[in-house]
């Protein structure tokens, strides 16, 4: 007996030893690519270790308009470009904090005016050409060029003065700011570094914005992102392939991305996207409505649905507070007398049933809003902001104080009259393509009916709605939503500032129309240049309180980010920041042993 045990024991040791050797070997093999080119400074990212191969199919609501990060403004373009390009410092979409990207480290001078970024060595574009400080210099020269009209250009201008970029050596660049900037290194997120070797000539010829169309030959549009262009079939799909020169590895040292191909299918309607996902034609789904989410949840088989929690989208109602110019009709000017009354807006806000909106529009998968900062934003919400429940009583008191009165209408319903005896009637415009907001408007219509206001909901095509709000200014009230792209307050700066283009109730003012708007301008300006988080937070909180007090935007609700993925997709960790499911696309992989569904 003893000998048998002993033998067995020895065998065990032997097998363990063998295993250890094998593991060691595996490590050596894995480490090999790193050793081969020791001048390549890879970024190892934490997460499940996957394995290379496979492809991931994603649906896009529309064809991207361009692959050129200099001019991209639509969501599909940004989503695709996000997988093809890389920035200097990146905001981790899960933690909402910054982390090294193409810059492996950075230093801020004590006065907050100088940012010294040290670039990663040995990084190559997806065509194999190396990246260095010259590419960074070139990139920012292009973004800052007024003739290029990059939509993000404003973010690099401080008090009318642009940021300057200087090269110290091949891998060190210094950004000189005219003023200290509270956002700090977050400002480097999202600036795709462009390949100078390819784009300098077209730039000099003034042709750079015409490049990067979807029909660009695959090898003519290199980037620093995990994927590069492979094939584009008009009206059907865009295929990206693995960038073999990508500069990130997993914890084991395997070069990322894992996926061989990333395929974007163009599926125009939300329902069609659900059907494609359900039938296994696509692997991940995001931007889901609550109703479709629950349909998919009910029938889940080989996929898992994830409610990533409240996002950064805020939906709100606002009234037309534009200056009554010559263009404004007498009828609208009459209505604006009500809209300008702070108590009128407060009364509307008090009458809105946010709980019902969350329940009926989002099936409970969302949260009511009393300010611009959503619960999905971890750090910037003002905790002191009141969250009063709906109160028609309070609304009536406020209206009475503002000189409104009631009469009994023909149907026995009360009708609200203003101080001159005119019945309060107005219309709310909303985008016809957004069922959620149309539903919110219908609920508000009913809420306000109980105050005696006669409201009509007018669905408009989104373009003509925006045109009315920002150009012709011919509307009474509007329900709209905005999704901040970052948790930092500066991502909403154009909403806050009275000079901003998306200061929706009265956009692009040359001079703040009201005292409180002037104060908000001042607070936002100050927080932009404040140095510490605490200082900024204090200023920002005050701005939020002012917004609540004067109610130029009546905040309604914020939906959760609803996503889903096939069980075979590894490392699936949806975030509440865009791109919700593809933010870690380089880490996504197809688990072995799972058949990548038929297509």
């Amino acid at each position: 007996m003893k000998t048998v045990t002993a033998i067995r024991y020895h065998r065990q040791i032997a097998s363990r030893l063998l295993l250890a050797v094998a593991t060691l070997l595996a490590h050596v093999v894995a480490a090999f690519p790193q050793q081969k080119s020791s001048n390549e400074e890879f970024l190892a990212v934490p997460g499940e270790n996957g394995h290379p191969g496979g492809r991931l199919v994603v649906s896009l609501r529309a064809e991207p308009k361009t692959l050129n990060p200099l001019i991209a403004a639509d969501a599909p373009s940004r989503e695709v470009i996000g997988a093809m390009q890389a920035d200097l410092v990146h905001i981790n979409r899960a933690t909402q904090l910054t982390e090294p990207s193409l810059a492996k480290s950075w230093k801020i001078s004590p006065d907050g005016l100088q940012y010294t970024l040290v670039l990663r060595k040995g990084v190559k574009f997806s065509d194999g050409q190396p990246m260095d400080a010259d590419d960074v210099l070139f990139t920012f020269r292009v973004y800052l060029d007024e003739k290029v009209h990059a939509p993000q250009r404003d973010l690099l201008i401080f008090d009318g003065k642009p940021i300057t970029v200087r090269k110290v050596d091949a891998f060190t660049v210094v950004f000189q700011l005219p003023k200290p900037y509270g956002v700090a290194e977050r400002m480097f997120d999202g600036w795709a570094i462009l390949p100078r070797h390819l784009l300098e000539k077209p730039y000099e010829e003034g042709k750079i914005v015409q490049l990067g169309t979807l029909t660009t030959p695959a090898n003519q549009w290199p980037g620093l992102g995990p994927f590069r262009l492979k094939e584009y079939v008009a009206g059907q799909r865009l295929v990206l392939e693995r960038n073999p020169y990508y500069w990130k590895t997993d914890a084991k040292g395997t070069r990322l991305p894992y996926l061989e191909e990333l395929i974007f299918l163009f599926v125009p309607s939300a329902d069609a996207q659900v059907l494609r996902f359900q039938s296994g034609e696509t692997d991940v789904i995001s931007r889901l409505g609550a109703e479709n989410f629950s349909v998919l949840s009910r029938q889940q088989r080989d996929y898992t649905m994830v409610d990533a929690g409240p996002g950064l989208e805020y939906n709100f109602l606002f009234f037309n507070l534009n200056d009554p110019g010559a263009k404004t009709s007498a009828e609208l000017q009459q209505k604006q007398k009500w809209f300008r009354e702070v108590k009128f807006r407060q009364a509307v806000s008090a009458a809105v049933d946010r709980e019902a909106i969350v329940l009926l529009v989002y099936q409970g998968r969302g949260s009511g809003l009393w300010g611009l900062v959503t619960p999905g934003n971890r750090r910037w919400g003002d905790q002191k902001l009141p969250h009063p429940p709906r109160s028609l009583e309070r609304a009536r008191t406020l209206l009475k104080e503002a000189g409104f009165s009631w009469s009994t209408g023909p149907n026995g319903d009360p009708a609200l009259l203003d101080s001159s005896g005119k019945p309060v009637e107005f219309s709310i415009i909303t985008s016809s393509s957004n069922a959620d907001r149309a539903k919110m408007a219908a609920l508000i219509q009913d809420d306000l009916k109980q105050l005696g206001m006669r409201v009509q909901v007018v669905p408009l095509e989104f373009r003509s709605l925006l045109d009315r709000v920002t150009q012709s200014k011919d509307y009474d009230a509007c329900v709209l939503g905005v999704a901040s792209f970052d948790a930092d307050p500066n991502s909403d700066i154009n909403v806050w500032l009275s000079s901003g283009g998306t200061h929706l109730w009265n956009p692009s003012q040359t001079h703040p129309a009201t005292d409180w708007e002037a104060e908000i301008d001042h607070l936002i300006d100050e927080q932009m240049y404040a140095r510490t988080f605490e200082q900024r937070k204090k200023l920002y909180d005050r701005a939020q309180e002012l917004l609540w007090e004067y109610q130029p935007m009546i905040f309604l609700a914020s939906p959760d980010i609803l996503t889903g993925a096939r069980n075979s997709v590894g490392n699936f960790r949806p975030a509440v920041l865009e791109p919700y499911v593809l933010w870690n696309v380089e880490q996504l992989y197809i688990k072995s042993g799972t058949v990548n569904t038929t297509r």
């Binding site: 109703e291 479709n292 349909v295 009926l360 409970g364 149907n411 016809s432 539903k439 009913d446 408009l460």
Partner: protein, 351 residues
């Protein structure tokens, strides 16, 4: 049953059906736009006569349903608390025929709201919405048919009576109209008109649009009748005595077209109800929260509703008797017109 009896039967059937939508306030238990926000998407509640113990109750009752906590597609009945239906009760205020204030409803309950046809996404009673919606849809159909027949009568009479190039011109024009796909014609006409209008304007707009689309067919039929009528002996005789064109048309010729027009009306009304429903279904009709049959079905465009809430289909089924009524009456009328040649026109060309 004699032919006459069958006709009368269909007529009474239709009149009864129309009564429900002419007096929707009486038949509907609630206001069609009243929201019950705690109860979105409740399935229809079944009417019971027998309780859980098997005892019979003369007064029908329902077990009120409620959404299961945290769920939006599962509901549970409360068998402990039956709610009995009362007839001829006073309920929400409404206006009979749009003017007389009234509170009497065919049926209702004391406290709990009941949903015999389920509730929609805002917790509005689908049954009430069906009756009120019928008002919009049926009247759009009836008025639209009226306009169309009037147009058809005028064009057909002029073309048939005067003949010659007037006839050729009008008939070629009508052929052009017939050749165009009617749905696109409807859209094209609607696109010319303002998108955002109040409910009442929207209603008349739709009536006008629908009425303007279908005139070609009745015009051709009327022309045929006029062509043959104007060659009749009594017409020739009247003309010989010096009757004017207008007198001849009104006194002798147009009365001949009455049966054609009646038959056409029974075909056109359901077609135009469908047309209104199509426009409203696509969001081009009467705006929410005013119900119409098309609006009622519009939520079925969403995949999630389609697969989750089956009772949203029910309005589509309830419309069927109206259509059957019109088609039945239509074919009876046609038999009267041509007793030896029974030809049944179907909806096929339009729908």
């Amino acid at each position: 049953m004699s032919l006459r009896g069958a006709r009368l039967g269909w007529l009474i059937f239709l009149v009864l059906l129309h009564a429900t939508v002419i007096f929707p306030g009486f038949f509907a238990p609630y206001d069609p736009s009243e929201q019950d926000r705690k109860n979105p998407y409740l399935p229809p509640m079944r009417i019971h006569f027998l309780d859980a113990q098997g005892h019979f109750h003369a007064r029908p009752f329902v077990y009120p349903l409620q959404l299961r906590q945290g769920s939006f597609d599962q509901s549970e009945g409360n068998t402990a608390k039956p709610v009995s239906l009362k007839f001829f009760v006073r309920g929400t205020r409404y206006q009979l025929l749009g003017i007389i204030p009234f509170r009497l409803h065919l049926f209702g309950t004391e406290d709990e709201r009941v949903y015999l046809l389920g509730s929609d996404s805002f917790g509005r009673d689908q049954l009430s919405r069906f009756f009120y919606g019928g008002q919009v849809s049926l009247f759009a159909g009836l008025l639209g048919a009226g306009i169309t027949l009037l147009l058809g009568l005028c064009v057909g009479a002029i073309a048939g009576y005067y003949g010659g190039w007037t006839d050729a011109l009008l008939m070629r024009f009508s052929e052009l109209f017939l050749a165009l796909p009617w749905l696109y014609l409807l859209f094209a006409l609607r696109a010319f008109l303002p998108l955002s209008v109040g409910p009442l304007q929207a209603f008349f707009l739709i009536v006008a649009v629908i009425g303007a689309v279908g005139w070609a067919r009745p015009a051709r039929l009327v022309r045929g009748v006029v062509l043959s009528a104007k060659e009749r002996d009594f017409v020739r005789a009247a003309r010989g005595f010096g009757a004017t064109d207008a007198y001849l048309l009104c006194r002798h010729i147009l009365p001949e077209t009455s049966s054609v027009l009646l038959t056409q009306a029974t075909i056109l009304v359901p077609q135009f109800v469908l047309a209104e429903m199509t426009l409203s279904f696509l969001g081009l009709g009467v705006p929410e929260p005013v119900p119409s049959w098309g609006n009622l079905l519009a939520s079925l465009q969403q995949y999630s509703v389609l697969v989750t809430y089956w009772w949203m289909y029910l309005p589509a089924l309830l419309i069927v008797p109206f259509f059957v009524g019109y088609l039945g009456l239509g074919s009876e009328l046609q038999e009267r017109r041509e007793p030896y040649k029974i030809e049944r026109t179907s909806l096929g060309n339009f729908a």
